[in-house]
Amino acid sequence: MPTIAVDKAALYKELGQEYTTEEFDELCFEFGIELDEDTSQSTKPEDQAQPAQLKIEIPANRYDMLCFEGIAMNLKVFLEKQKLPKWTVTAPKNSKMQVLNIKVETAQIRPLCSGVILRNIEFTQERYDSFIALQDKLHANLARQRTLVSIGTHDLDTIKGPFSYEALPPEQIEFVPLNQTKKMNGKELMEFYDKDKHLGRFLHIIRDSPVYPVIYDANRTVLSLPPIINGDHSKITLKTKNVFVEITALDKTKVEIVCQMLVAMFAGYAEAIEAIHINSPHNNETRQSPDLSPREMQAEVDYLNQVTGLDLSPEDISKLLSKMGHDVTPSSADKNILDVSVPITRADILHQADIMEDYAIAYGFNKLPRVYPNKTAAVSAPLPINKLADIIRVESAASGWTEVLPLILCSHEENFEWLNRKDDGKTAIKLANPKTAEYQLVRTSLLPGLLKTINSNKHHSVPMKIFEVSDVGFIDMEQERKSRNERHFAAAIMGKTSGFEQVHGLLDRLMLMLRSLFLTREDGLKNDKLEGYWIEEVDDPTFLQGHAAAIKLNLGGKNHTIGVFGILHPSVLQKFELPYPVSTVEFNLEVFM
């Protein structure tokens, strides 16, 4: 969630009222934003040195509250101190509408462009800073770090239309980037900004493309190289009167939202919002921009009242919804319908469910009638595998073993090499983008976690007896998700002696609890129908030779090998840095389902 810092005194002045921190916190809470910090209560010297700020967390879908202007406006509307403004475009006074021509080549890299002109804007330092900061916030959030949308703003009086949005090979684009003095071409620019802390992270969006997007004016002055940087020539300053905004994008919906947000937030400082004509015949995007008309939709009174548990009249609902910026009139045709004009600021409204939520917020979430309709009778049931796991957990603890909960993710070597196991490439689920080597794959065995737990508990007295009942994961190409979990049980003991008979004894105990008889190998092999378990020596490189046994189980007329136990091979101990002998047991619980 974005956090926006606003000047406290300026905001309270806008709201026409002083608030204590608690009162303002309460207002935010009711509206659905969150007061993170009031810096006047901070003890940090850097906070005390500045005028007090309110740091406010904004929900990720409220693009209309990403700057001071938006927060003040929405709160004033909520407090019924003003109506939400209506934004309209006006025709240019003495001249023809500005034109932006989009060339077909742009389809290769960044096909969409929109724009608007703000006439006779009055910047102050605060407004100017807020204008720049809003663009940064939109770039970071809605525009997904400029990949989907990027904004360029220019002093219209330094450039001359018609404008042209093109895509050209980087070597052919030459200009002086913003706040630089040297002219460079597209390729040089990439090198120049490669190490730049701020801009460096956006270069990848176009770097390897054969053509770069670029906007020229009638004199072939470069306005910008979206989504990286503007030209220095047309930069806006505090003195700028007429602002030309261009917005390039991959996403048609978002390009309009961004344009609408900039207009809604800053048109208040300008004399007029002037549309531009966009020529884009190759993709049927020829139009006038921006479209500032509210979106007309309908909401059902029944629905709004039923879900909120309220019973207000269409008129009362309309009044409450205007606190959220909606212009609502009960439909003349149908008593159950409200005609809702959704303002351009409310891009988050998709469905009447959103209107319903605004109704509940305007009414007050915490004033809603808290009545639980006692209609549902239900019968609970535990997940069978969890019930089985709980039996094993409780019996293991009752046998004197301590339950641990290591992580599911581990490194490749912990899961394979350190256990002397080989990765056949068909077993373990591997991760594409872990932040650290600790998390390379989903464990296929509980052993790495147990051994790491012992390692971190070396200060503990021996013998150490621990267990875990949890899931491991495997690739399984038969499944929709190409993988499956398997519930395993595992235990480990570290002591001065191997503890082999301890893990063996625990196995026997758990089998007894699972109604599994101890069989001789001969009997078990001879007759599949004879239910029970036995163990037989197995050669497994995880364990000391001659000290490992496979756990065999006859169940449901089938013979299964469900796991293995034994004394860990000294090389395994060395890898996990364990000072004493360790024995482990691990088996699959799913067969007992």
């Binding site: 959030n141 988050d348 917020i361 209609k375 239900a378 599911i408 689920i429 872990p434 929709e480």
Partner: protein
């Protein structure tokens, strides 16, 4: 020695001597002992142990005496041995007849030269003669400093407080506290240590020896024997408490047995747009191998599990109508297409997000970022026969987070879902009030919030009595029509969803401030063992 039972003598062997016996022996010949005089070589702690042992059996009585002892430093011990500094200087001058001041330190040492020269002048034993020293007294003078220190060494005391302070200042003596004991016979004194029984044994019962046996006194101040107990993990103890709350409310536990899920189930079906930040590489673990999922389809194993769990409810609540109601088989192809449509173009009364939806993105495999992916699956299944239902799960979820005190790449999500007709938002608040009251949290407040798949969305705040402030304790809401209607659920069926992490309330309950001390391999085994049982109703 564990397992030792029956009579055992109780000697206290120290430096190969039986100190308790020595004390008893000496008391036989002497009415009162002074430990500092009678056992000067034995350290005080050992004396005390022996005396306590005897006193606890009323064989002796003792009083402790605290006193100060003056001890010479190594410098003053040197003086006692070899004479004072001034004496050494006198002697050196006597032997040489005349000593240059410059050379004096090389003859007697620097310290002796500087101290001894000054005192020598003061005592009028020597005098300066130009750059050298010559004798004033030729007969060997009386070394009073040495004699004084000798006296202190013998008596270990200094009667003149002023002198003592001066000696301490000159670092010639230090004072230490000493504890000595005055020992007399006790009421049960005897010359021999009696044979004692540490415990009542079966043999003593048989022989009747218990009647006359002399039992070793029991130490009531000590803890009992360590149980070497096994233990369940505290996080799982809290988990069980939550499961019990869910079971008491008629919830069915969902099959969460797959860490890997698809972009479709984890995000798209939940109406999370494909460019949502949660789908970033920064936030979600993507799976590189296996490379790609299949499109959604029936999942026979989990279907069977759900059928089995819901059979109780079916048996109990079946009516003539419900038996007649026809099941509407799920159409996965339609679901797939409707989800795409509601994102891309809008549908079901929604204008949608209006962007280019990528089917490949739906088939990407991820480590589930929430168990809501499983709730989605369960709700889609419910559309076959829409009826009131309550589902829950508590299982592991994964976030590609940078690990710190409050964030791990893995944690447990508690999730509850209630589907019914005509549910209201206030009803969810009421339900949550009851749910959290079971954990001892009352007075909930709800904050409007944003979540792509719920509308309305409410953050749940509870007043923590211990911390005396409002804490965010969970999230909740009603699932969006854009999520439910593509499943084929009827428009008037509404679904509550709520969730919280298992770790947060557990950390509050057990006072843990770092999540790494709770989950993962770094957790201390002793900590696991020592955490009390969870009683939500009691604490």
């Amino acid at each position: 020695m564990p397992g030792t039972r029956g009579p055992v003598p109780v000697p206290l062997e120290t430096q190969n001597r039986n100190l308790t016996q020595d004390i008893l022996d000496l008391l036989d010949t002497k009415e009162t002992l002074q430990t500092n005089e009678d056992f000067p070589a034995i350290p005080q702690a050992e004396i005390k142990a022996a005396l306590d042992r005897l006193a606890s059996r009323s064989m002796v009585e003792y009083k402790s005496i605290n006193s100060d002892k003056v001890v010479l430093t190594s410098e003053s011990e040197g003086i006692v041995e070899n004479g004072s500094h001034e004496f050494k200087v006198w002697k050196a001058v006597k032997e040489a007849g005349k000593v240059s001041i410059k050379e004096l330190p090389t003859i007697v040492g620097a310290q002796t030269a500087s101290v001894g020269m000054g005192n020598g002048y003061k005592n009028k034993w020597i005098k300066k003669d130009g750059d050298s020293i010559v004798l004033l007294v030729t007969e060997e003078p009386k070394d009073t400093t040495r004699e004084m220190l000798q006296g202190i060494q013998e008596t270990q005391s200094v009667s003149d407080a002023k002198l003592l302070a001066e000696l301490k200042k000159k670092k010639l003596a230090t004072v230490t506290k000493v504890i000595t004991y005055t020992v007399t016979k006790g009421p049960k004194y005897s010359k021999e240590m009696p044979v004692e029984h540490t415990d009542l044994t079966a043999e003593m019962l048989t022989s009747g020896a218990w009647e006359t046996a002399n039992f070793k006194p029991y130490n009531f101040a000590a803890l009992g024997a360590n149980q070497n107990a096994g233990a369940l993990h505290p996080l799982n103890k809290v988990r069980q408490e939550f499961r019990n709350i869910f079971f008491s409310q008629g919830f069915v536990e969902m099959p969460t047995g797959h860490f890997v899920d698809t972009g479709f189930w984890n995000f798209d079906a939940l109406f999370v747009p494909q460019q949502h930040p949660a789908r970033d590489m920064q936030d979600t673990f993507f799976v590189s191998d296996p490379p790609k999922a299949d499109k959604p389809r029936l999942d026979p194993a989990n279907e069977a599990t759900m059928d089995r769990m819901e059979s109780g409810s079916k048996r109990l609540f079946a009516t003539v109508e419900s038996e007649k109601r026809e099941k509407k088989p799920r159409d996965f192809e339609k679901y797939w297409n409707d989800v795409k449509k509601v994102h891309q173009e809008g549908a079901f009364g929604s204008i949608g997000y209006r962007y280019q939806y990528q089917e490949d993105e739906s088939l990407r495999l991820v480590l589930r970022t929430h168990t809501t992916a499983v709730s989605t699956w369960a709700l889609h299944r419910l559309a076959e026969d829409p009826r009131p239902a309550r589902y829950f799960s508590i299982d592991r979820v994964f976030r590609n987070e940078t690990v710190d005190a409050t964030h791990l790449a893995e944690f447990h999500q508690i999730e509850g879902v209630i589907a019914d007709f005509g549910l209201t938002l206030g009803g969810l608040q009421r339900f949550l009030e009851d749910f959290f009251r079971n954990m001892g949290i009352e007075n909930l407040r709800f904050k409007p919030a944003y979540n792509p798949y719920t509308e309305p969305s409410m953050e749940i705040f509870g007043f923590h009595k211990g911390l005396k402030r409002w804490l965010e304790i969970g999230n909740s809401g009603m699932f969006r029509p854009e999520m439910l209607e593509p499943m084929g659920l009827p428009r008037d069926m509404r679904v509550y969803g709520f969730g919280l992490s298992l770790e947060r309330p557990t950390m509050m309950k057990y006072g843990v401030s770092n999540i790494r001390e709770l989950l993962g391999h770094k957790v201390d085994l002793n900590w696991i063992r020592e955490q009390p049982a969870v009683r939500f109703d009691k604490d």
